[in-house]
């Protein structure tokens, strides 16, 4: 995958004013954001649960995980549903799904400063802006701050 000739298909989306990309292979569905069921005590990135085709899909907010600013109103909020495995479904809360593009692996650069834990594993230039490549698995595996408890 990381060879110089390989081309990776990315799905790009917007979170706040930032442009992110994720391996398009994992994208199962794009839905208009719907009401979620809150999950008390869950990591702060977990927005809540929706169900889709008989499955319970936790929706995560990359803005919280990455510390990106978002406006309070997210009029075009969208759920980007990812399928990682048979029973492993997740959704990303994004502000807009932009495009699906093929990016030569060679065009993706390592981000300047990686702490080894950052879920942002690459960066490439598309059209008029820089796109960060998000490793979703890493995003859910790396430590997440629990939601502050009210006590």
């Amino acid at each position: 995958m990381a060879t110089t000739t390989a081309v990776v298909r990315h799905c790009t989306f917007r979170v706040g004013s930032h442009c992110l990309a994720i391996d398009a292979e994992a994208v199962a569905e794009v839905l208009t954001a719907r009401p979620v069921t809150r999950v008390p005590l869950a990591p702060a990135t977990v927005v809540g649960l929706i169900h889709r085709r008989g499955r319970i899909v936790p929706i995560l907010d990359p803005a919280i995980r990455l510390g990106l600013p978002t406006s309070a109103e997210r009029p075009n909020a969208t759920h980007l549903v990812l399928r990682l495995g048979d029973d492993d479904w997740y959704g990303l809360l994004v502000d807009e799904v932009l495009d699906v593009i093929d990016v030569p692996a060679a065009a993706v650069e390592r981000p300047a400063a990686t702490d080894g834990e950052s879920p942002l594993i690459g960066i490439f230039a598309a059209a008029d802006q820089l796109v960060h490549v998000l490793d979703f698995r890493r995003m859910i595996q790396t430590p997440l701050r629990p939601r502050p408890q009210s006590s």
């Binding site: 008989g54 936790p58 997740y90 009210s150």
Partner: protein, 743 residues
């Protein structure tokens, strides 16, 4: 070869079935060695394995099966008797085939076990020579295994090659015709097929989606009759479809019980006992995941029974019992759960020894122990303290690993109960829910969020009152308790536990869900059940009994929160988290209930002691066993159809007879509201809907049932919530519904 993998997988499954059948038939043959049909069955099983292994080129397997087939041929042709000498190598053959199949499954190859001795033993047995004589016998060779080296062949029949069987036998059997010998027992018509579990799961998922779509459809308010009629039909079909889809998950418990004849035989031989095993209800169905989950606990119980329960033949004879001990496995289904009994007629467990041991181990005080019934004392067998070998010998060898059995069964929402009579035997009753994937649950509400609690753990619902007399929260703010019939039950505030509200929130009213899980009992304080604040008790309890949820996994990320065991989608499309009561226990570190209090709790079968408390339309207090209650439903009175003197309602499953509760009690009927509130008792075919006035609560009885008015009415009276209520049981309601037809 890789093209074959699918077929090989099928071959493995089929062969496993064949082997189970073989074990069964061999055991049956021990009893009736002359049964030609059985011999033919065994022959066929072996032959099928041989044929398939030849097809796939499993030569070792083929050679063994061939040798076995040869021996069986001679038994079938009555050249040899079926006795210990001829059966021993056959049992060994079954084991060897299992070993090879396991190797094929795991590695794709036959493995390098050496079965030549077994081959020789089979061949020798076929010659009618003692099995021990091995050397002279040639390797029986099927075409793919050109192993025939020495061929001393003292007798012509010994040649296992194939056709030649000259001799005097009725020659029924040239190998080409092997399928023929039992035309009477010809394969029954195929009524089952093998289906990938994944396909079934996806069907179930899709049905779930359909149910939601159906709900949306129902919510549409329309004046158009044809639309509402179509919607009604879709509704009925969807329900039926859902039920059918759920059934596809069920599997007969025979998948577990079918192995036991062999286990018992081997154990009995090893222990020098004579044991006869009877299996009853092997076709009882259970969710496939649970069938697997009960395998180990049941095996343990069966081993215990043979090893420690049933006495040696000599001891039995001395005690005036038949030398042969009896072990009975009985499976049956009753309202949403399956019970499996493991009963032996052995020496039983000396209750006095258990009592003494419980006191000695400090599990209970001597006075308390003396006050306990024998049945309650026996339950100590399941305490971890009773499970080490040294202690077990002093308790007549019973109790090995019984705590593990209980832990495993409780982990799948089941219960275990033991009964024993000295000298007469021991019965262990394992009760598990029909399915884990679809369970009845209570949907509760707190701080504006909804959560589901599996009903199996729910003992009782208590509504807190602000007035002085009613149930209220006592104890220190840090350790709140609720007084329930003299016991103090610790309380957990769900809203605070989940960080939904600050710790100092008011707790004046609300509802307590009393739950019992493992050795713990606690009350979960919630705002209310499903429904809204103004809607008090009745509708709430209704929701409690009504909701059947499909448990869905929530993934590792959320599982690590430790408070939720899954999630479900409710009829309104909303996702609701299922509370993990064990997780809550771990988090809150509540102490277990002391065993004494535990034993003092209302009897050993909590579920059957719980009642749905209602009134009749005429205002009388009535109770129905929760175990009998299948659903609570409401129908417009116009949908109750009269057929002569009988009333029926069309439900999802067909027509169900309806009977007014007052009619069951022979008391005057009350006013008939537009909406009929029905309590459906019993499952499907036996279902009967009892019309009631108001549903009050779910409670445990405070007194034992007192049978008055006896058989004609078929119920009794009990105390619920400090007042008497008359019982209406399923049989009584059914009887009344049927007399309705006659009159």
């Amino acid at each position: 070869m890789q093209d074959n993998s699918e077929f090989i997988a099928e071959f493995l499954v089929e062969s496993a079935d064949n082997l189970d059948a073989l074990d069964r038939d061999l055991l049956a043959l021990e009893r009736t060695p002359d049964d030609a049909t059985l011999v033919a069955g065994v022959f066929r099983s072996i032959h099928t394995i041989k044929g398939n292994s030849g097809f796939f080129g499993f030569s070792k397997l083929g050679a063994l099966a061939h040798a076995g087939e040869h021996l069986l041929g001679r038994i079938r042709d009555r050249v040899l008797p079926f006795d210990a000498a001829s059966s021993a190598p056959l049992y060994a053959l079954v084991d060897a085939v299992r070993t090879i199949l396991a190797s094929i499954r795991d590695t794709g190859g036959e493995g390098d076990h050496d079965f030549r001795d077994l081959s020789r033993a089979l061949t020798a047995a076929a010659e009618g020579r003692p099995v021990a004589v091995a050397a002279a016998a040639p390797d029986p060779a099927t075409p793919p295994a050109p192993a025939v080296a020495s061929e001393p062949a003292p007798e012509p029949e010994l040649r296992t090659e194939s056709p030649p069987r000259p001799a005097s036998q009725p020659a029924v059997q040239p190998p080409a015709v092997v399928e023929a010998p039992a035309p009477t027992a010809a394969a029954p018509a195929e009524t089952t097929i093998r289906v990938d579990v994944g396909v079934l799961a996806s069907i179930l998922d899709l049905v779930g989606e359909l149910v939601l779509a159906r709900n949306e459809l129902r919510a549409i308010d329309t004046e158009d009759r044809s639309v509402s009629a179509a919607s009604q039909r879709i509704n009925a079909v969807t329900n039926a479809l859902q039920e059918a889809a759920v059934k596809t998950r069920l599997q007969p418990v025979d998948h577990v019980l079918g192995r036991f004849p062999r286990t018992v035989r081997d154990l009995a031989v090893a222990c020098g006992k004579e044991v006869r095993l009877d299996i009853d209800g092997a076709s009882t169905e259970l969710d496939r995941s649970l069938v697997e989950a009960i395998r180990d606990p049941l095996t343990h119980l069966v081993r215990n029974a043979v090893d420690h329960g049933i006495e040696s033949p000599a001891d039995r004879a001395a005690a005036g019992k038949p030398r042969e001990g009896r072990l009975t496995l009985r499976a049956f289904q009753e309202s949403g759960s399956v019970t499996i009994e493991v009963a032996d007629d052995g020496g039983g467990i000396p209750v006095t020894a258990v009592r003494a041991k419980a006191v000695a181990r400090g599990l209970i005080s001597a006075e308390a122990a003396a006050a306990l019934s024998d049945h309650d004392v026996l339950q100590f067998i399941f305490e971890p303290g009773f499970s080490t070998a040294a202690q077990v010998t002093s308790v007549s060898g019973r109790g090995v690993g019984m705590d593990v059995v209980r832990t495993n069964i409780e982990a799948i929402g089941g219960t275990v109960d033991i009964d024993s009579r000295p000298g007469l035997g021991t019965t262990v009753r394992v009760r598990v829910p029909l399915t884990l994937a679809i369970v009845p649950a209570l949907v509760v509400r707190t701080a504006g969020e909804r959560f589901a609690i599996p009903q199996a753990a729910v003992r009782e619902l208590v509504r807190l009152r602000t007035d002085r007399d009613g149930p209220r929260i006592e104890g220190l703010p840090e350790a709140p308790v609720l007084r329930v019939r003299g016991r103090l039950v610790p309380l957990v505030f769900l809203d605070r536990l989940l960080g939904l509200r600050p710790d100092n929130a008011s707790d004046a009213d609300g509802t307590v869900v009393l739950v019992r899980i493992d050795d713990h009992e606690f009350g979960l304080v919630i705002d209310g059940l499903r429904g809204d604040d103004t809607d008090a008790g009745h509708a709430l309890v209704e929701a409690a009994v009504l909701t059947t949820i499909v448990v869905k996994p929530i993934g590792g990320l959320l599982a690590q929160v430790g408070m939720y065991s899954g999630a479900t989608v409710l009829g309104d499309g909303g996702v609701v988290l299922i509370l993990d009561l064990r997780g809550i226990l771990r988090t809150t570190r509540l102490p277990p209930i002391p065993p004494a209090a535990d034993a003092a709790r209302a009897g050993g079968t909590p579920f059957s002691d719980r009642y749905l408390l209602c009134t009749t339309r005429g205002g009388r207090r009535i109770a129905m066993r929760l175990a009998d209650v299948a659903r609570l439903e409401r129908y417009p009175r116009t949908e109750l159809e009269s057929l002569g003197s009988r009333t029926v309602v069309r439900r999802d499953t067909g027509f169900t007879p309806v009977v007014d509760a007052d009619a069951v009690l022979d008391t005057p009927a009350g006013p008939a509201p537009d909406m009929a509130r029905l309590v459906v008792l019993g499952d499907e075919a036996a279902a009967v809907a009892v019309e009631v006035g108001v549903i009050l609560d779910v409670m445990a009885a405070e007194t034992a049932l007192q049978e008055d008015r006896a058989v004609t009415v078929g119920q009794g009276t009990l105390a619920l919530g400090g007042r008497a209520a008359e019982l209406i049981d399923h049989a009584a309601a059914r009887r009344r519904a049927e007399t309705g037809i006659e009159s």
